[in-house]
């Protein structure tokens, strides 16, 4: 720097005001996103709490370092060169340029690894298998009486550790419920394992986090965390066979060939290509968490799935007449 010359960092007051006007609403918008069901700052699971703690530590440290570095740069630009202080400057470079960053990096590395070890640590109380399909999630609960299969809505008990076995048949997907914990890929040909310990009852969102095809962004899921006794009751009900509310609807379901892809336990329909529909009506959403589950949406979906979810692999049934559709809807919405 040329001795005696000062550098001005000041912006015109009008520009500063303009920046503030833009930045303030953006900051509020960003903060509002912290309280949604898919926010990693919601802290609804043990792992998410650990990650959140690391996030705040790193954010505070980064902010502190940013303020220090910019403060020193500001000071350096406003002060005049002084050859007599060169020794101090060299010491400063050695300490702040080499030793302190090395120590900070090693500490961050060790801290991050210890956190990762803690997240892998707990022994699961029970197992859930999750298979990534195009474009939905097959969920299986291992119970002493056998596997209970459902789709797209995962219910978990608060306070218990669940072991997730993640697999895929076609392409790579990634399972991520940010409010509950970390993310893990589903890779064809192998089973990846992770654990989740939900703490906060509520409905939390998740999404496929690895591009898997046309409807990747519509491959969502919901995790409902329930008090443990409620979960046990739900799982027992979910293991039961389907309640058939409309025999005429079941006849349509079977004759139209729906059972080639969908299972409805207790009705002889046992397809495994599409989601298990045994307790379809107990779910709040359909088409992998993107649509509300109601009569009209179901009818529109059956007539043309790709119109609601581009890339959906279920074939369309545009020719289903109303006298067949209505009993079919009675049957499907009766599958509690």
């Amino acid at each position: 720097m040329i001795a005696g010359r000062r550098v001005h960092f000041g912006f015109p007051a009008a520009a500063r005001r303009r920046c503030a006007r833009i930045a303030a609403p953006l900051t509020l918008l960003a903060l509002a996103a912290c309280d949604t069901p898919t926010s990693m700052l919601a802290g609804a699971g043990r792992d998410a709490v650990l990650v959140e703690r690391l996030f705040w530590i790193m954010l505070s440290a980064a902010a502190l370092i940013w303020v220090l570095v910019n403060g020193i740069a500001f000071y350096a630009a406003r002060t005049e060169a002084n050859p007599e202080r060169e020794r101090v400057a060299r010491l400063f470079v050695v300490w702040c340029g080499m030793i302190v960053p090395t120590v900070v990096l090693v500490a961050l590395l060790v801290g991050g690894m210890l956190l990762l070890r803690d997240m892998r640590g707990p022994r699961p109380d029970f197992q859930v298998t999750i298979d990534g399909e195009q474009y939905w999630w097959r969920v299986g609960y291992d119970t002493p009486a056998g596997r209970v299969v459902t789709a797209n809505e995962i219910r978990l008990p608060a306070g218990r550790t669940v072991g997730l076995a993640l697999a895929s048949t076609g392409v790579i997907h990634s399972f991520w419920a940010p409010a509950l914990g970390g993310k893990m890929d589903l890779i064809p040909g192998r089973t990846n394992r992770m654990t989740l310990t939900p703490l906060e009852p509520g409905r939390w969102g998740g999404n496929c986090a690895e591009f898997c095809g046309t409807a990747h962004a519509q491959m969502r899921f919901e995790v409902e965390v329930m008090p443990a006794p409620d979960f046990d009751r739900w799982l027992a009900a979910e293991a039961a066979s389907a309640r058939v509310a409309s025999d005429a609807g079941l006849a349509v379901f079977t004759s139209a060939g729906c059972g080639a892809c969908h299972a409805v336990r207790g009705t002889g329909n046992a397809g495994t290509t599409g989601p298990d529909l045994t307790h379809l009506a107990s779910r709040r959403t359909m088409a992998a968490g993107i649509l509300p589950l109601d009569r009209d949406t179901l009818a529109a979906w059956i007539r043309d799935p790709a119109a609601l979810k581009p890339g959906a692999l279920m074939p369309a049934f545009p020719d289903l007449k109303d006298d067949a559709m209505q009993p079919l809807l009675d049957f499907l919405t009766g599958l509690k």
Partner: protein
């Protein structure tokens, strides 16, 4: 060997590339060992951590000997702010030795950091 004198003998520059090459080799070997040990289930017989520790000690020993070479043969000094401004052969050698020493320190640190995960995670 007079033709390649500067490549492998007096004032040779390989001493600059060697420390970081040792780190790269150590990194690669640690990954291979971890992958093979865990895939084959050999961790029960010989702990993966023991193999990693052996590799790390060997890498650090080689880096230390390179640092010794840089000090003895090149008269390098481990002073961060050393200014070498002459243009004689001796200055050139001193510069090579100085840089090699700094790189050896960096490589030693990198080797230790590669070993750290094995210390934290005790199993495959």
């Amino acid at each position: 060997m007079t033709r390649f004198r500067r490549v492998i003998d007096e004032g040779a520059i390989w001493v600059l590339a060697a420390p970081l090459s040792i780190w790269a080799a150590h990194f690669l070997l640690c990954y291979w060992v971890a992958a093979i040990w865990c895939a084959k289930g050999w961790d029960e017989a010989v702990r993966m951590r023991t193999v990693h520790a052996g590799l790390t000690l060997a890498a650090l020993a080689v880096i230390a000997s390179l640092a010794g070479l840089a000090r003895r043969r090149y008269r390098g000094e481990l002073r961060v702010d050393e200014a070498i401004e002459g243009d004689s052969d001796a200055d050139r050698n001193r510069f090579l030795g100085h840089v090699a020493l700094m790189l050896a320190a960096l490589a030693a640190l990198a080797v230790v950091m590669t070993f750290l995960p094995t210390l934290v995670f005790r199993q495959c």
